[in-house]
């Protein structure tokens, strides 16, 4: 493949795999505030290595490898939080990334499932994921204890996961 095509192809592949790469980074680094920077650093490195990419090989796996290094880099950098898992665990997890269902379909199904749980549960989910509030802030907004917020979040996520699994299984069959 000509070099110019190769250099143009890699950013396109990255955009196609953006949901997966972003999900991978969020999993290893649940602190939302740094995820964007790590994904962007990953993008810059992936595009910088465009010439090394061999057509026909697994692009996503290569992107995950680079993302893993960027997460580790961020974990050792200033402002890193203790909550990041240790290096051995991150490597073990990276080696066992599950085959993903179609990300776009999963997102669509998840959007449908958000109508399922109770209104209160969805408000908590929105405050956490849409408004980026921490549990103590959600507790203040809802007039609950932090523990009650944690329980509500855990229950809502469980209900959503079961709903998504059920809908994806139904679509497969």
């Amino acid at each position: 493949m000509p070099e110019s095509d190769q250099i143009a192809l890699v950013p396109r592949l990255f955009i196609q795999n953006m949901v997966s790469v972003r999900g991978f980074v969020i999993a290893l680094m649940p602190d939302f505030s740094r995820v964007d920077d790590v994904v962007q650093e990953t993008f810059l490195t992936v595009t910088a290595k465009a010439n090394d990419f061999e057509t026909g090989t697994n692009f996503r796996s290569g992107a995950f490898s680079i993302a893993r290094f960027k997460v580790l880099e961020a974990a050792w950098g200033p402002g890193a939080k203790e909550v990041i898992l240790n290096t051995k665990v991150i490597e073990a997890l990276s080696a066992s990334v599950m085959e993903e269902p179609d990300s776009a379909m999963e997102l669509r199904v998840l959007g449908e499932c958000k109508d399922g749980p109770t209104r209160q549960a969805m408000r908590v989910i929105d405050l956490r994921y849409e408004q980026s509030h921490r549990q103590c802030e959600i507790a203040e907004i809802m007039g609950w204890t932090v523990n009650a917020v944690n329980v509500a979040l855990a229950r809502a996520r469980k209900a959503l996961r079961e709903c998504v699994d059920q809908k994806l299984r139904a679509q497969e069959s």
Partner: protein
Amino acid sequence: MDTPRLDHLLNSYLDGNLPPEEKHELEGSLLASPDARRQFWRAARLHGALRLLGGQESGAGAAQREPDLPGKDKVIHVGRRFWIGAAAAAAIALVAIAAEFWPSRNTAQGHLAGVEPNTPNGLVVPPESTKPKLSERLFSASPHESASERIAASRNRLDQLRTKFHYQPASRL
């Protein structure tokens, strides 16, 4: 480890409030058990998808919504901000590629200026370009450079590109 206990640890991890002793417990379980790692990815994938969905909704609906929550001014539109950053990064890559491979006016003039009146058959023979290719300029390395020197050099060159195209990482937007 039983499933409810693992669920509890994973929820605390994803919410960023895992105490150190429980973090060690989770890490031990993830290292020891493939099932725990599978469970981790299921939970993490939902966490990432919810965040992505929340980010999209936050970006799309922010303009229409009235502030109705205390602390609303703290909303961070990470999803929109990320896409702006990604678009900027992609634009940099495309501009750099275009600048490198698009036949510019100056180059064409250079070719014409370089025509020898006595060229056989009257063909225009462009002078051999001595300018290194983009990939060479970005990633060329002398055999004496160590890996860390090459990484540092690549970073500097990327920083130069960022400066040249006024690119700011998302966190600074």
